[in-house]
């Protein structure tokens, strides 16, 4: 803590304090998240299929939020995806080394029915668009850990755009599948 508390104009009256509140936790990834992270450490993107509505969730959270039922069936997904939407961020993220401007996109991997947020790079920011096809650029295998960050970012693919009504509905084999 700094020793400089806020004082009034008379330099004597205390008007403010600094209160450092630092709490330590031992975070546990959920069972479904642990499974997902274990597989991504192996370089494989996976989702879970809802037994009721058959939709595939990534990252899986152990339940289908729409149906409120547990999900167990694991589904392997492609590392190709479609841009559902995106933003170009021009401000730094606290504690993140990425330099703005950068593109953060909602991406639906082929075979999944919901988007994940990730970076888009190796592209002209002005050219990024909804329906665009992209593919994961992985870090070197020796750097893989329990994190979606094993994918450094996604980059554009030379494939035709996905019509808006088909975004989020592609099979794992992609647009032509």
């Amino acid at each position: 803590m700094s020793d400089e508390n806020n004082v009034g104009e008379d330099n004597e009256t205390v008007t403010g304090i600094e209160a450092p509140i630092y709490l330590k936790y031992n975070f546990t990834a959920g069972a479904a998240a642990s499974r997902f992270l274990t597989r991504i450490k192996e370089g494989v993107l996976t989702g879970q299929r809802c037994p009721r509505c058959s939709q595939v969730y990534i990252p899986p959270r152990g339940s289908c939020a729409a149906c409120g039922v547990p999900t167990e069936e694991e589904v392997e997904l492609a590392d190709k995806a479609t841009v559902e939407s995106f933003t170009i961020v021009s401000i730094p993220i606290p504690g993140n080394p990425i330099e703005p401007p950068f593109v953060v996109a909602n991406l639906v991997p082929d075979g999944a029915n919901i988007s994940v947020i990730h970076l888009l790079s190796e592209c002209d920011n002005a050219e990024v668009h909804i329906g665009q096809r992209v593919q994961a650029v992985w870090k070197p295998q020796e750097e893989w850990g329990y994190a979606l960050d094993n994918i450094r970012y996604f980059k554009p693919l030379d494939e035709p755009d996905v019509p808006v009504e088909r975004i989020g509905k592609l099979p794992v084999t992609g647009l032509e599948g």
Binding site: A19, F27, G30, R61
Partner: protein, 360 residues
């Protein structure tokens, strides 16, 4: 609020997870879903679409992430959207909010759930940050130490003895043997407890509730709806709650004025109390509460073992109501009292009176 001139509301289902010291990999949704599944099954419904209102209780700081309750919605099957709300309090207060919703005619039934995963943090430290943010929180006075001072006040004034406290613990452990969800049960005598050295003197570790992970859920409904569902129920004949000053020095810590007031408003004294489930995280507090509720020898206190046998923060208050419901529908009691608490040294207390409903 009492039930006079009001629509009668009843508890129709109650389920809780096991109290475990560390739920391991299970996240909050994974803790909630099985409990909700069981409570729906108990009523014979599918999911939250089949009730008119949902309300939950949780605390972000237990696991150290903002918006814990948002994930809870994932467990409900809330598509299409539902009427839903949340209190950053024990879920017993979520039940209170749900009753208002039913009384104003906007619902006939409600699902209430509470959950907490306290194991990831250091709970007494986390709760120290509930205290005055200028005078006490920066000292990191933990909640166990505050309760220890409360116990000493009582010991010094001759209001209790250490043996009285040990007997509360021994009874809790014995009763918990019959509770499959309890974390700490066993054939423990008061002598065994007294043989332990003190931890935060005058408290021994056994005087202090354990830290538990888990969830509990209750379904309430109008009596008409309960009959339509054809499930056994217990009528909520009174409920009230009341808070006291945050300055511990100003309060009479040897008594619980707010519990007395809530009990009077809920009508605790209007009939025999066969069973009472009290949210007493420390052994001496069970004695304070029993006295404030003016419970006699003929009342069974904490037959579940109470929270000394397992404490699901943010759900334990709701579980107390559920436990009394269980005794009534099992035919072990005609009328019972459930108590929930919040804040250091029993600052905020909620009292519910349940009665056996007329046979349908």
């Amino acid at each position: 609020m009492g039930q006079s001139n009001m629509k009668e509301i009843a508890i129709v289902a109650y389920q809780q997870s096991d109290c475990v010291s560390d739920a391991g990999a299970a996240n909050e949704v994974e803790l909630i879903i099985p409990v909700l599944g069981k409570v729906f099954e108990q009523v014979g419904i599918t999911n939250a679409q089949d009730v008119d209102f949902v309300c939950s209780g949780s605390c972000d700081y237990l696991q150290g992430a903002a918006f814990a309750f948002v994930m809870g919605v994932d467990a409900l099957g809330a598509v299409p959207p539902i009427k839903e709300s949340h209190v950053e309090m024990d879920a017993a207060w979520a039940l209170y909010e749900s009753m208002l919703k039913i009384r104003m005619g906007h619902a006939e039934s409600a699902l209430i759930y509470g959950f907490g995963k306290s194991s990831p943090g250091e709970l007494p430290n986390v709760l120290s940050q509930q205290l005055d943010p200028y005078y006490l929180a920066p000292l990191w006075v933990d909640t166990i130490s505050l309760a220890a001072m409360q116990a000493r006040l009582m010991l010094d004034q001759g209001l209790i003895t250490e043996r009285d406290m040990a007997e509360v613990v021994a009874r809790s452990r014995r009763n918990a043997q019959g509770n499959p969800h309890a974390q700490l049960g066993g054939d423990v005598s008061a002598e065994d407890v007294l043989a332990q050295q003190t931890y935060v003197s005058p408290l021994r570790k056994a005087d202090i509730c354990p830290v538990s992970d888990g969830a509990s859920a209750v379904v309430i409904a109008t009596v008409e709806k309960a009959r339509e569902w054809g499930v056994p129920y217990a009528v909520i004949s009174g409920i009230d709650h009341c808070i006291e000053t945050h300055n511990l020095g100003v309060r009479d810590l040897t008594d619980s004025i707010s519990t007395r007031r809530a009990a009077a408003n809920a009508g605790v004294g209007d009939g025999r109390v066969d069973v009472a489930e009290l949210y007493a995280p420390f052994s001496h507090q069970e004695i304070i509460l029993s006295r404030a509720l003016e419970l006699g020898e003929d009342t069974r206190v904490n037959p579940s073992g109470g929270v000394l046998a397992g404490n699901l923060m943010m759900a334990s208050g709701l579980s107390r109501i559920g436990e009394v419901f269980n005794r009534i529908v099992a035919g072990e009691a005609q009328r019972g009292v459930a108590h929930a608490t919040s804040g250091p040294c029993l600052q905020h207390n909620l009292v519910t009176v349940l009665e056996k409903g007329e046979t349908a």
